[in-house]
Amino acid sequence: MKGIRLSKKIVATLVKDQVNYPSRLIIDTFGLIARCGILLILYWYIFKINGGVLNGTTFIFTAWSIFFYFSFSVLRLRDISRLIMQDIQSGNIEVLFSKPMSYLFYRIWWQVGLGVYSFVVINFFATIILILMLGIPSTMTIGIFIPTYILTFIFSAVLSLLLYTVVGLLSFWIDDINPIYWIVDKAVMILGGSYLPIALFPVLMYKIALYSPFGATLFVTHTVSESWKTNWYQLVGIQFIWIVIFVILTFIMFKKAKQRVSVNGG
C-alpha cells in the first residue's frame, strides 16, 4: 500500500515539475518530429519507388511500427542507466540509501515520472496527426489490438527498465558504463525496429530480434504487423520470460552492489 502511494507521489511530483518547466516537453517534441518525421518521409519515398510494397508490407504498417518505437522512446526509460551511474559517481546514492525505501523502486518510478508527461502529451497529438495523415491499418482495428497492445506495452516498459537498470548497476563495478550502455542501446534500437521496421528484417535477424532481450523490449513495434493476431501470446510470453530472468539478475546484482557502496572513499 505504501509502495503504491509512494509511486503515485513520485510520478505526480515529477509531472508537476515537468508542467512547471516544460523545456523537456519541447525538446522531446522536436526530437520526435525530427527523428520520426525524417524516417517516415524516407520510407514513404522508398515505398513509392518500389511500387508501394516492400517485403510484403505497405507504408502504412511500416509508418505505425516506426511511430510505436518513437512514441515508446519518449518515455526515456533507458535513461535509468545513466541516472544510476550519476548517483554512484556523484555520491548522491548515500542520500537515497538513507531513506526508508528501496533505491531501485525509487529510481524506477522516478524514471517513469520523468517521461510520463511528455509521453502522454506528445503521443496524444502525434497519434491524432498520424491517423489524420495516414489512417489506421486494418491490424489495429481488430478486437484484441488494444488489450494486447497495452499488455505488451507494459511488458516492454518493465523489460526496458530492468535491462537498463542492469546496465546502470554495472556502475558499481565499472567506472564508466557508457560503452556498455551504447552497445545495449544500439542493439535495442536496431532489433527493436527503430530505423528498419521488423517487417523488413531478414529471417535470421527477425529471429534474433524475437528471442533476444534487446528486441523483446520493443515488441510494441510488432503489434501493427499481420502476424500479431496469431502470435501475440508467443511474443508476450517471450517478454515475460525475459522479465523473470532480469528480475532475478537485478536482484542478485543489487544485493552484491549494496556491499560495494563507497562515497568519497568512505
Binding site: 508537476k16 546514492i93 562515497v263
Partner: protein, 334 residues
C-alpha cells in the same frame, strides 16, 4: 536490571566497529594483460575497532581531519555502508539488516548534497518526504505547519528551492530531514559553505529541536563553531581510531598545556626583551603583547610575576587557546 535500564537510554551503541576498503591497484612489475585479469589489491582500514555509545538527547560532535573515518562511520550508522566487523545498535536496530526500519527513526543531512526538488516549492519536497515516511495526509500537513514555525520557513516556503539562498536551503534540508520526527539526526558537514549568520541560525535551530523534541544530534564537521556551540560531547577520530571521547569543554584542558596572556601597555611598548623559559611571544606590538605560556614549564602565577616585572602594563588578560587551535593540535599530534 540496572544495566538494562542504562542500555535503554542509549540511542546508539557501537562496539568494535571496523570498516576496510579494498581496491584494485596496478602492479608496476606486471604487464598490462596481467594487470587486467590479475590486478593487485590494496586494503585500507577506514575505521579501526571503534566503540562508543550515545545517550538519547545527547549532542555529539564526531570530529577528525580529512580521511579520519568520520563519514565512513556515519554511513555505517545509517546502514549505507556495511561494516567489515563489529556491531552497531541504533534504537535497538541493526543498520545493516534493518536499514529501512531504521530510516523511519533517523534523519540524515549531508551538507554537500540536496534531497529537495530544485524546480518545485519547498512544500512539494516536504509533502513528498511525508509520503515517503508513510505519514497520513493530515499528519503531513500538521508537521509541515510545525516545521514552518520551528524553522521560520514561511517567507520562502512557496519559492522554488533553486531560488533559495544557501542558508535558506540548508534550513529547508534540515526541516525535510525532520518531517518524520526522527529520534536521531545525523549531520555530515551541515554548515559547509554557509556564511556566519546562516551558520548561527542553523546551529540555533538544531539546538532548538534538541531541546524541544529531544532529538539526539550526531554531527561531523570541520567547523569548530559547530562543535563549540552545539555539542556537549566530542569524539575525536584519526586514522580510523577514536583518540579522545570527552566533554567538549574539557578539550582545551586535556590537549593543550598552553595559556595565552595579553598585555596592554601603560603608554606603549618600546622594547621586547627575551622571555624566561616556557614563555614565548605570539604578538609583539607597541599597543599589545601576546605571549604563550607553556604551563608544563612555568605555571601561570610565576609567568605573571615575571611578565609584570619586565613590562609596565595597564591591563592583563589570561585565557585558553581557542578550540580551533586545540583541534589542530590534536590532529597534528596524531
Amino acid at each position: 536490571m540496572i544495566k538494562s535500564n542504562y542500555m535503554n537510554k542509549d540511542s546508539i551503541i557501537v562496539s568494535n566497529l571496523t570498516k576496510k576498503f579494498s581496491f584494485q591497484v596496478k602492479n608496476a612489475n606486471s604487464n598490462w594483460l596481467k594487470n587486467i585479469f590479475f590486478p593487485g589489491k590494496k586494503e585500507i582500514v577506514a575505521v579501526n575497532n571503534i566503540s562508543f555509545s550515545v545517550r538519547a538527547g545527547e549532542r555529539i560532535a564526531f570530529i577528525g581531519p580529512n580521511g579520519a573515518g568520520k563519514s565512513t562511520t556515519i554511513k555505517m550508522l545509517t546502514g549505507i555502508l556495511f561494516p567489515t566487523s563489529g556491531k552497531i545498535n541504533i534504537l535497538g536496530l541493526d543498520p545493516t539488516n534493518d536499514r529501512k526500519k531504521l530510516a523511519y527513526q533517523i534523519g540524515t543531512v549531508f551538507g554537500q548534497r540536496s534531497q529537495l526538488f530544485p524546480n518545485l516549492p519547498l512544500t512539494d519536497s516536504l509533502e513528498f518526504f511525508g509520503v515517503m515516511y508513510d505519514l497520513s495526509d493530515d499528519d503531513i500537513k500538521k508537521r509541515i505547519a510545525e516545521l514552518i514555525k520551528l524553522f521560520d520557513l514561511g517567507s520562502f516556503i512557496e519559492q522554488p528551492v533553486r531560488k533559495l539562498s544557501l542558508g535558506q536551503r540548508m534550513r529547508a534540508e534540515v526541516a525535510a530531514s525532520l518531517i518524520h520526527k526522527p529520534k536521531i539526526i545525523l549531520l555530515d558537514e551541515p554548515t559547509i559553505g554557509l556564511d556566519v549568520v546562516a551558520k548561527k541560525s542553523l546551529r540555533d535551530l538544531l539546538l532548538k529541536i534538541n531541546k524541544e523534541e529531544n532529538t539526539t544530534i550526531f554531527l561531523t564537521s570541520h567547523d569548530v563553531g559547530d562543535v563549540e556551540f552545539l555539542c556537549e560531547r566530542t569524539i575525536v577520530i584519526n586514522h580510523g581510531e577514536i583518540i579522545k571521547d570527552l566533554p567538549t569543554e574539557e578539550l582545551s584542558k586535556t590537549f593543550v598545556s598552553e595559556k595565552y596572556i595579553d598585555l596592554i601597555p601603560e603608554k606603549i611598548f618600546t622594547v621586547f626583551p627575551d622571555l624566561p623559559a616556557g614563555i614565548r611571544y605570539s604578538l609583539k606590538d607597541k599597543d599589545k603583547i601576546t605571549v604563550i605560556v607553556d604551563v608544563k614549564i612555568i605555571d601561570v602565577q610565576e609567568s605573571l610575576r615575571q611578565l609584570l616585572s619586565t613590562f609596565k602594563v595597564e591591563d592583563i588578560d589570561v585565557y585558553n587557546v581557542d578550540l580551533e587551535t586545540v583541534i589542530r593540535n590534536i590532529y597534528e599530534r596524531n
